[in-house]
Amino acid sequence: MREILNIDNITIKFGGLTAVKNFILKVFPGELIGIIGPNGAGKTTIFNMITGIYKPTVNKIYFQDTDITGMKPDKIAKIGIARTFQNVRLMENLTVIDNVMIGFHLHLQSNLLSAIFKFPGYAREEENIYQKSIELLEKVDLEEYKLEKAGSLPYGQQRKLEIVRALATRPKLLLLDEPAAGMNPQETKELMRFIQEIREDFNLTILLIEHDMRVVMGICERILVLNYGETIAEGNPEEIQHNPEVIKAYLGVEATYA
């Protein structure tokens, strides 16, 4: 099977600082991969490079065999990569339903004129987008808040809304940047179930940055550990948990004398 995402030994430098060094990752369709590491290890920078916000200084990134290095973020979204942000980025003053409907804009067929004058073709498309948005909101139990401003939702709900918005773009690859941050244990459990569910329903490949080890160890099949921009370990949850270098750099030594 061909890989869906091929990150080929990329390096990015900001001035004198090397944020990510020689990062290699091949992702196969349907995989759920976790990226962990201490703050400042370069995890989000990798996401920013995949989604076109930064361009790697050295080497390239391929998505389904297309070179996407330096492509603009909106083009990358169009070919099927969606993401969420560590600090939730919603359109706060717009309604919840509008936030989801915006996600469908990139696949809109109608042109500007038919949208302004509400020609039948556009009206049908809009209705369709609305129905699909409602369905997506129902999946995360946000349907009853559809007319609330997105910024007025509690933090955990905002995170879910952001994931739903990403799903609306019909991605093949979904990048989740700390989806469980700020969630209570109950919400985290629901989130884990939700991630598994959308992965099945939408045939997704998922990359996940997360600090909550229950989430990472619970749902990821493969985990990468980053420290100071370099990959220090890679393997399944079992291997990572017992890797001495990972324990030293990130997980910490717990109850060794017990």
Binding site: M91, I116, F117, K118
Partner: protein, 356 residues
């Protein structure tokens, strides 16, 4: 919930009522009052168009006076009869194509809009990469450049002398008609998927981009459409004043539109419409305070420009206490209107009940 068909019927009824009002105003009011109404309607067009790029798309543009100037000159050059143009261009003879072309008012207005839109497209491509204040400064610079060009191209614009004797085609039918069309189109745009994309850009540019919204396309589109209507308004303006010169399109013009916009509330078309008329009424009815007045024993001397000071104070108060503007982002809809009417009547009923 109201049916869409019903809303359409009400809109048509409202337009008929509006037509009757325009007819009455045009025939019963004196020229001075008609002029204020005309200016108000032109400001509606200007305000709503600026609202598209600034209020809805979040791009701080101060170039509206420039687009108006382009529109005003294009209309003036098109509607003036050739023999008359030959007469007034005394500094330098008028350049070739303009000496012969002559077009009816409607065509001239459309050309005004298109030329302004073309200018916006060309300037927008490089300039809309800038953000916030920088964009404001760049577009302000553009408007000034247009004015300086108008001053220094005597064989097209007649330089600082300006163009005089433009036929007074503009009446309430034109100004109100253009305002209605502007509102219809911009409202249609804002309430569509494209409008959502524009608002997404305003709310969070990076998020908008990663969900697949092409920033350049949408910003330039919004800027161009906005400039189109500013150009048309410029054409109306030229045929209302009958005289235009570069001084008419100084920064103060953009500032006036900005006041209307902030007064009515960024992102509220309803607010802009109300504020446009309110601003023009106040501008006239506050004239006496510039002539000097007396409150009890205190005598205020005549200070020219005191009206603008008043507006600055109003604006300050508004920005401090009610940033969302007069209408607070509220938008008129038939549904809301009838809910309001219903409330008025249901409020009365319980009082009747309590007395019985």
């Amino acid at each position: 919930m109201m049916k869409r068909q019903n809303a359409k019927v009400f809109t048509i009824l409202a337009l008929i009522v509006l037509s009757i009002l325009v007819y009455l105003a045009q025939n019963k009011l004196d020229p001075y009052q008609i002029r204020i109404l005309n200016l108000g309607a032109i400001y509606v067009t200007l305000g709503v168009s600026l609202n598209l790029i600034y209020g809805f798309t979040g791009q701080f543009s101060l170039g509206h006076a420039g687009f108006m100037a382009i529109g005003a000159y294009v209309t003036a050059l098109l509607v003036l009869p050739p023999y008359y143009k030959e007469m007034i261009f005394i500094l330098e003879p008028l350049a070739w194509p303009f000496t012969v072309i002559h077009a009816p008012f409607l065509i001239a207005l459309l050309c005004s809009g298109l030329m302004a839109a073309l200018a916006a497209f060309l300037i927008g491509l490089p300039v809309l990469r800038l953000k916030g204040d920088y964009l404001g400064i760049a577009t302000l610079g553009f408007a000034e450049i247009i004015r300086v060009i108008a001053n220094n191209l005597p064989h097209i614009t007649n330089g600082a002398l300006g163009i005089k004797g433009i036929p007074e085609f503009t009446n309430l039918w034109w100004t109100v008609g253009v305002a209605v069309v502007t509102i219809y189109i911009i409202k249609g745009l804002v309430h569509s998927s494209y409008g959502r994309a524009l608002m997404a850009i305003r709310e969070n540019e990076i998020a908008a981009e990663v969900i697949g919204i092409n920033l350049t396309y949408h910003k330039v589109m919004s800027f161009t459409i906005s400039a189109f209507f500013a150009g048309v308004a410029g054409g109306l303006f030229a045929c209302l004043l009958t005289t235009i010169d570069p001084k008419a399109f100084m920064f103060i013009m953009t500032y006036n539109i900005l006041i209307v916009l902030v007064l009515g509330g960024l992102g509220s078309i309803t607010g802009t419409v109300i504020a446009a008329f309110l601003y023009n009424f106040l501008l006239e009815y506050l004239r006496p305070i510039e002539a000097g007045f007396q409150i009890g024993p205190i005598v205020f001397p005549a200070i020219p420009g005191l009206r603008m000071v008043t507006f600055s104070v109003v604006l300050l108060v508004l920005i401090i206490y009610k940033q969302s503007g007069l209408m607070g982002g509220f938008e008129f809809s038939w549904q809301a209107f009838f809910q309001f009417v219903n409330k008025l009547f249901t409020k009365k009923k319980p009082t009747e009940g309590s007395t019985s």
